[in-house]
Amino acid sequence: MTAEVVRTLEETGTPARWRSPGARALRSLLRKKIACLAIVYLTIFYGAGLFAPLVVPALGLPSPYEQNRRTIEEVRAGPSREHPFGTDTLGRDMAARVIYSARTTVLFTIVVLITGGLFIGLGLGLLAGYRGGWVDTLIMRIGEVFSGLPTLFIMLALSAAFRTRIDDLIFWFKDNTFLGDDSRAIVQFLLIAMVTVPFAWIGSSRVVRAQTLSIRESGYVEAAELMGAGTWRVITRHVFPGVMPLFLVGLSGGMGGIAGSEVALSFLGLGISAPTASFGTMIGDGAGITAFRLYPHLLIAGALPVILFIFAWNLLGDALVDILQPKQHVS
């Protein structure tokens, strides 16, 4: 009898178990069905992309880089049992190409995220907000110059300008490093990452700076400084945790755009080029009014996965805004 009472008391009366703010945010995120769907899709996309060389044979699909056994009937064939998404203009399996394209997109978003978002965006934002003075002015003016440039246009100009020069670099890499035949894809990849990063940091560093400015004035930062904590310690232990939520919101909202810029550049023939798979080149094969009328699967199979990818990131960003900043302050 008493044991039962104690148990009911424990179940009803005890206060909710204490959870860290991060765990609480994750719980309320999972309570949103749309956000859940987005997370599931992104997990599948990232998983398939990262492990493409394992996933493709596991699904029983032929590798897109093997073109030895092609017949004319296999070219631009519609979806069938053997090729669930159909085949492309060279008779390669579209489903396998989609998975390998996901690999390109996934790697690209991760590289730009780490360099542009994390190091430059977060780092410069923290630095500008915490140090203030001329450091702040300089960083923000540089940001102003970059955001003043017409982004896509400059990315076009840069990638077109360096494109002719990188051939030498590709051959050098091929002859002198272990990369071999992969060097072409890697150098092209680095080039588009290089032209995307200068535009990827501004948004997040502005958000981080604004938040840092307000945290810097708070009592606990002053207390830490009075106790003799160094700049590094104050930034990492006291400022950074407060900045993190807003930074995540900005980041997840920007990921779709980052992925989109790779697709756009590759579509125009200035990014990743064949034979390396990319959604941009795949869409380029099917994007034409006549091409779409005759072979709709070329465009749909190439475009739909990446549209959903961008959509999922946008939805996730939207859900995070609601959770991490319930009363949003519009600047």
Partner: protein
Amino acid sequence: MGAGLTGYTIRRILWAVPVLFVISFVVFWILRLAPGDPVDALLGQRFDEERAANLRHKYGYDKPVVEQYVIYMRNLAQGDMGVSTRHVDFSVSEVIWPKIKVSSQLGAMALIIVFSLGIPIGIYAALARGTFLDPLTIGCWLLLDAIPAFVLAPVVGWLVALKLGWITLGWEGVWTDGPIFRPESNVIVYVLIMSLPGVAGVARFMRASFISVMDEDYVRTARAKGLKQSTIIITHITRNAMMPMITVIGLSLPAITAGALFVERAFGIPGIGAESLAAVTAPDFDVILGLVLFGSFLFVVANIVIDISYGFIDPRVKVGGQRG
């Protein structure tokens, strides 16, 4: 406010000058850095050293980069934007102004659609907060936002031109010649493709702004006074929620002239987007520079105008105060 605002305006304009100089020099230098130059593109198969040298001398590409830049800037100050090499010996102004005219008309129409749809949708979503209609509305527009223009263009083109036969494919000018002054029907389709993906951003921003105003004390007061719901929404909330929208509207103004590269490419519209892609890949130095400078100039001006207009619209805003 008077003296402070004037001083602030002057400071901002003075800042804009070095910003534009830096942009122009960086672009100028990057273009010269690349190995392929317009002369290679012009001669192509007929390349021989003597003709190349002659052409380089003619366009001044044989001089040091800094000297070329000084010459370019001196000419620019006199209103001469240089010559195009791709459109042989046409001046840059002759090449870009007609295209800017086309692009800016389409862009202005697109912008009007974006804001006249985005603002009501944002208000609707904010009022529906807490129900499933809010995420559903925003979600639908976010899906449109995720579709790249180069995917949407062929699909819509196939649907309305080939399947339904509503429009013809081909450029027939912006306005109809007919008795009623209206845009060509295919222009309407192009403008819709350009504008619909942008609605989500405006709607989201308007929603956030509307929600933050909705919780203000004066809104509660208005409600307690027994004002009609429609009066509260229109005069109390929307008017105040529009304040931050000024920034968004201002920042999208330069996009009007930037041209919609992918839509222009897909439908053969003679605008800035298609021209800039061609100029970049050719390459055509002076046209690229002209376009970049024009775009950056508009952006910088729009930024200054937004900041200053805040001071006029909302007297509480102190421009040039502690903003770092």
